[in-house]
């Protein structure tokens, strides 16, 4: 029984990795609107029903692939002080998320009705900010509050990426960070 479960786990993991790889490859060369579950199934060597059973529908699968690509590979850079740590992280975050690939991953993550992908995606951001906060505390700095950083800095960046109502210039992102840090210092 245990062996059977392991074997199932192995097969299940192989299907996941193969389907993810197929979707990533297709996204490189095809228009997202042209991708269908039967096409993904054929290229991955599984049946469409395997995909529907596992992911529900195409938007859930695209969201799952996008979150897997967004998973961070390293901690945010340690620049020696909280202010520069946060600014460095935010400038990189804004650049990545507003890039063509970033926008497309964000659209896929938010396109899932289930919403689990969105939660996993924003957890990466919370984790990074928490790392910066703990680093600041270790240094003896007055650390910012993670939820407040989300509201004051991350939320406006995401809003402007999604609604395209203002350009995300470096100066604008810097001003979000500096106003937030001033407020933290004064609070």
């Amino acid at each position: 029984m245990a062996r059977e479960m392991v074997r199932q786990g192995g097969r299940s993991a192989r299907i996941q990795s193969e389907v993810h790889r197929t979707v990533r490859d297709m996204l490189k060369t095809m228009d997202r609107g042209a991708i269908t579950v039967p096409m993904i199934a054929e290229k991955s060597g599984v049946t469409p029903s395997t995909i529907y059973r596992r992911w529900g529908d195409l938007s859930e699968l695209l969201a799952d692939v996008a979150v897997a690509r967004m998973r961070p590979v390293a901690d945010p850079e340690d620049t020696g002080a909280m202010g520069s740590d946060l600014e460095t992280f935010i400038l990189q975050y804004a650049e990545e998320m507003s890039s063509k690939v970033g926008r497309s991953m964000l659209a896929d993550v938010l396109g899932s009705i289930e919403g689990a992908a969105a939660g996993r995606c924003c957890q990466f951001t919370y984790d990074h900010l928490e790392t910066l906060r703990e680093r600041a505390l270790t240094r003896g700095e007055k650390a910012f509050d993670v939820s407040e950083a989300i509201d004051a800095v991350i939320a406006p960046i995401i809003y402007h990426i999604l609604f395209r109502d203002r350009e995300l210039t470096i100066d604008y992102c810097r001003s979000l960070v500096s106003r937030f840090l001033e407020k933290c210092a004064g609070a």
Copy 2:
């Protein structure tokens, strides 16, 4: 020639209104993921190619229908003072956008790759805030800045609706408004 153009305009407007009505009806009874362009075309009495020519693809059509539904029918309520005007507007905005219908419209608007629908959608919010600002100026109050209201109040609300990382309680929304108004008063 002029008559021909008018006739075209009339036909074009009728197609738009019929297709929009069909999509709204289908969204009431069907799962969004199950709706296809050929189904919409059949129920609207047009050909699929008419829909593709006009809207590009399904996600652009869904975004167009969502924006049309979001178009405000009235100015925000005049409560006699800027602070209560803003709070009233924000509480209603948060309630509408976080409802099931609001979330679904938001997803449709943001699902468009073109992004024109997102711009039109957030323009409604800018217009409402501008109305409140002008009303405050007319009353001789120290008025808030619209872009700052977007960053400090609207962006966090939309972020939490999309990423579901915190509940949008009335107290939380009120605190966003009151902290923003304090900052405006102090600035």
